[in-house]
């Protein structure tokens, strides 16, 4: 079982370009999440989805969009990348939305915006 797969693992991107980070899970989890990790700030929630067909904004949603067309996939799109979006992005999932579910994480996507 792969768990959560993120792609690409690393990417360098020119400012102003569009970029989609892919996330796929094979655990049939209902909820999925995107976090960004920055030094000294820990992990901050960008967007989440409690179930297929629904999405919600997290702590730092500006400049990002997500979709949840099915249970397995939860892509994160940067419509026009800016240098402040340089970060490591983690996708996560949990069986249920809410406060009792363990989060399962992907290995991360390191994005550099120049």
């Amino acid at each position: 079982i792969a768990g959560i797969t993120q792609a690409p693992t690393s990417q360098i991107l020119a400012a102003g370009r569009r970029m989609t980070l892919r996330c796929t899970q094979d655990m049939r989890h209902n909820a999925m999440y995107w976090y960004r990790q920055d030094l000294g700030l820990g992990l901050r929630l960008i967007h989440y989805s409690n179930t297929a067909g629904t999405t919600g904004k997290g702590e730092v949603p500006d400049g990002y969009s997500v979709s949840r067309a099915n249970t397995d996939d939860f892509p994160l799109t940067l419509a026009s990348a800016v240098p402040s979006q340089t970060s490591v992005y983690f996708c996560a999932s949990s069986e249920l939305a809410g406060n009792t579910g363990e989060l399962f994480f992907g290995e991360g996507s390191r994005l550099t915006v120049l």
Binding site: I4, Y33, Y35, G40, L41, G42, L43, R44, L45, Y48, N50, G56, G58, F90, A92, A97, G98, N99, T100, G101, E102, L103, F105, G106, E107, G108
Partner: protein, 111 residues
């Protein structure tokens, strides 16, 4: 407002000595609390979780944490550090649509 504060950004211990990583939380209701570990260039892995059952929670790799409501704390401990424990540790508070991570504590273990 819900929040999580990790009181130390860096902790350094000698191998074989106890580990204490501190986490305080703020929540208007009884939270679910977790500790995660992140090794270099890896995703996060669950160490242990508290979900209003026993206040002393045992996790993997000899770690444990105690939920103290009176102190709003959920500190992570281990009796004897091992070199492989060197990593970054995150305290996490779960709530519906309010999933809050602390800023992280980097644990260094010296021979």
């Amino acid at each position: 407002a819900q929040s999580v504060t990790q009181l130390d950004s860096h902790v350094s211990v000698s191998e074989g000595t106890p580990v204490l990583l501190r986490c305080n939380y703020s929540s208007s209701y009884s939270p679910s609390l977790f500790w995660y570990v992140q090794h270099p260039n890896k995703g996060l892995q669950l160490l242990l979780k508290y979900t209003s059952a026993a206040t002393l929670v045992k996790g993997i790799n000899g770690f444990e944490a105690e939920f103290k409501k009176s102190e709003t704390s959920f500190h992570l401990t281990k009796p004897s550090a091992h070199m492989s424990d060197a990593a970054e540790y995150f305290c996490f508070s779960g709530g519906y649509n309010k999933l809050i991570f602390g800023a992280g504590t980097r644990l260094a273990v010296h021979p």
